[in-house]
Structures are given as C-alpha cells and as structure tokens.
C-alpha cells in the first residue's frame, strides 16, 4: 500500500519487502482532509506530515503534534510522507508515534471486511510491528482536543541534526497540571509514563522511569539511552509546563 512512500520505497529498494503488487492510494478522494470534526482533529490517510506544521488549527489546539512533526525527516520527505504511514510503519524512533500515544489518538482502520477503531495506545506491538492485519489500511487518525491552554514540548537527541532519534521525549501539560509523557527508543514501543507525581517533585523523574528496556543498536547503546532518557523527560515536562502557564488566560 503506497501513500507517501518515504519508508516503503526504501524497503523496496533494500529488497526488505517484495510485494507482488503495490496499490497507490493517492488517487482516492476524501483521504486528504485535515479538519476539526466534533471537537477532534481528523487527519486522513493522505495528509502529509508537513501539513501538521502548516495547519493553524494544529498549532493552536494540538501543539504536541506540531512539536513532534518538526523533528520528522526533512522538508522534502515531510511533503510526501504521511502521518498514517508513519504510524503504520512504527519505526521505534518515529516522533509521531509518541505524539499519537500521548494525545490518545484513535485510528480508524478499514479493510474489505469492514471498519474498526483502535487506540494508538493499543496499536504498537514492537519495532515495526502493529495491530494492523493483512489487508487493513489506516484511513484516518483522530486526536481528541487537549484542554485549552495545554503546553507541549518535544526533545530528542541524535548523532546528527535531524537524524534518527537515539532517545526522544514528548510531553504535554494542561493548565490544571495534568501531564502526559511518552519516551521513544527506551522500550520496544512508545513508552508512556505516569507523571502525576513528577510534576510536583522535580527530582522524581529518574526514580519514576526506573529500569527501562532500551533498544541497543547502531544509533546508541542501551546504557546511553538509560542515562539520557530522564534528562530529556525532565526537559520536555519542564518546557511543556512553562508553556502551559504562559498560554493559560491571566
């Protein structure tokens, strides 16, 4: 199934997948809408990652989505690559998977047998592995609106600017102090951390994260990721909290 092709065409070139047929969905009408519906942000399967950076509604009401999208690939790949494709590919460093989990996104999945919805929090099964079955397609991703004035931040470290994340942290904090924190590359799937305590005790993050199960690969060692994760988590939560206060009405 071909939408943006920014991951799939790579796989084809490496002969890591050899499909007998490729279906280009770019011609299907109605899949390219990014709009507010019933208080949710509805993002169709053909919406490009760049649209998350350009859309004023995203900037206003879903700041974490915008922060995360800014770390995805390059402008040239964001103009082709889609949000839905990034989630379906489920690379462990894919920034938008962290945003989808933190924002409690719902995935509308379609197949010849019918349609179902699944929470992003139940969708990821491992690096490159999801709950998507054969013949299933994500047709839309829906994001519930965070509380007005919610602040968001995304931090990541990589060997080179804009390269794959070694560790990444996505955080958002609402004006009433409710926080979400999701880390990448410290577990086989986007790792959601209960941060209710961390927001009141600044030194609690490292204890809270405890012993993680980080990836150990060519990008970074597991021990490096274990050490960096609390630092990024703290920075992301701090920045998100600051922005929440600033955005809240006086």
């Amino acid at each position: 199934m071909l939408a943006g092709g920014q991951s799939l065409v790579q796989l084809l070139k490496f002969r890591r997948c050899r499909p007998s047929a490729l279906v280009d969905i770019n011609g299907i009408p109605g899949l390219d809408a990014i709009e507010r519906r019933d208080g949710e942000l509805h993002v169709g399967a053909l919406v490009r990652q760049q649209a998350l950076l350009d859309d004023p509604q995203v900037a206003e009401s879903w700041p974490l989505l915008r922060e995360a999208a800014g770390f995805v690939g390059y402008p040239e790949t964001r103009r082709r690559g889609t949000l839905a494709g990034s989630l379906a590919f489920a690379a462990p460093w894919a920034e938008l998977t962290a945003a989808a989990v933190a924002l409690d996104a719902q995935l509308d999945i379609c197949s010849a047998a019918g349609q179902r919805s699944l929470a992003a929090r139940e969708f990821f099964r491992g690096p490159g592995e999801t709950a998507l079955g054969d013949g299933e397609l994500i047709v839309a991703v829906r994001f519930p609106a965070p509380a007005p004035g919610t602040g968001a931040a995304f931090h990541e470290v990589s060997v080179r600017h804009r390269d794959y994340a070694q560790v990444a942290a996505a955080a958002q904090v609402s004006p009433d102090g409710h926080g979400e924190l999701v880390l990448l590359c410290v577990a086989p799937t986007p790792h959601r951390v209960d941060v209710s305590e961390a927001l009141t005790r600044d030194d609690a993050i490292a204890d809270l994260l405890g012993r993680l199960d980080p990836l150990d690969d060519v990008e970074a060692s597991a021990s490096y990721r274990q050490r960096v994760a609390p630092v990024l988590a703290r920075r992301a939560l701090r920045d998100a909290a600051e922005r929440a206060h600033r955005r809240a009405p006086a």
Partner: protein, 179 residues
C-alpha cells in the same frame, strides 16, 4: 513487472509522453528516459537529498517517488535554471561568486531547494531559516557556509529590487467621492 504504462509529465515547461515501467523512479525517469542528467542520485533511498527536484513547485526526493506518480504534474529540474542561451540565473551566479560548490555534486539539489525557499520567502536573509530550508541536502565539501552566504546574497538582492520597485512605482490614484 515489465509491463509499461503511459505517463505524461511536464518537465521544465515542456510536456513529455513516455511509456515506463511502474517501478521506474522519477529520478531514473528524468535521467534515463529524458536524458536530463542534472538530477543527481547518490544514496538512492531518501537520505542525502541530492536527487531533489521541484514537484509542482515544492522540493521532493525524486528517488522515493515513481515516475507514474508524477503523471499530470509539473517537475522542475536544474536544467530549468539557466536561460536557453546558457546564461546563468541569479542563484547560479551567486553560487559561483560565493564559491558555494567544490565538487558540485549536491549543487543541482541545493539550487532547486534554495529556489523554492526564495520563491516562498523572498528577501529572507536569516541564516537560521536558510539552514533549516536546505538541511535535507547533504554537502560533503563546503561545510555549507558559502552555500548559505550565496542564498542570503540573492535574498538581499531581492530586498533591494523590491525597494526599488516601491520607490519607482507611480503614485496610487484614489478615486475621490466628489459628491
């Protein structure tokens, strides 16, 4: 998968009709089928940015897109920049003046990526924004400094040209309500 399909693509203002294998990338189509070898391929899997071309005015990786997907759309390659008499355009001249290339391999992609940036952000000389715009194209020679300087120089010239147009514009006549 050797069955060929017809495709019509506009490249540098000229329409081309060809029959291509569906798996032909846009980069290979431009180079091998149209003979436009200014589009360079290096990593061929989307990282280096040397194959960047403008699709409907926006830079994309031509190695990660199939030629059939460009059907009915407009592509600009580096060959579109110089005039038919070989006269270089302003960005090419600035790259020459600022020594913004050494081996020259990334230059076509840099020029096109910068072209789009300056069309969408005329007069923007901010080095940070220029660097953000070209950060998807890898250059292994220059260290980027001269490339940023060349793009900023064209932006500066755009500012000057814009202010001259304002100064020499005829005074605006406002219709007077005489009643």
């Amino acid at each position: 998968m050797s069955q060929r399909v017809p495709v019509h693509v506009e490249v540098n203002g000229r329409g081309y009709d060809r029959e291509v294998e569906p798996r032909r990338t846009l980069a290979d189509f431009l180079r091998e089928d149209l003979g436009l070898k200014g589009t360079h391929v290096a990593c061929e899997h989307g990282f280096c940015g040397n194959c960047n071309v403008l699709l409907d005015g926006a830079a994309i990786r031509s190695c990660l897109m199939f030629a059939v997907q460009a059907g009915g759309r407009s592509v600009e390659t580096v060959e579109s920049l110089a005039g038919s008499d070989g006269e270089l355009d302003e960005l090419q001249l600035a790259f020459t003046e600022h020594h913004a290339l050494q081996c020259g391999f990334c230059t076509p992609a840099m020029l096109l990526t910068a072209k789009q940036f300056l069309r969408e952000n005329p007069g923007v000389t901010d080095a940070r924004r220029i660097r953000e715009a070209i950060n998807g194209v890898i250059c292994r020679c220059t260290g980027y400094q001269q490339i940023v300087a060349a793009i900023a120089a064209v932006a500066q010239a755009q500012q000057t040209a814009h202010s001259i147009r304002i100064e020499t514009a005829p005074p605006v006549r406002v219709a007077q309500d005489t009643r």
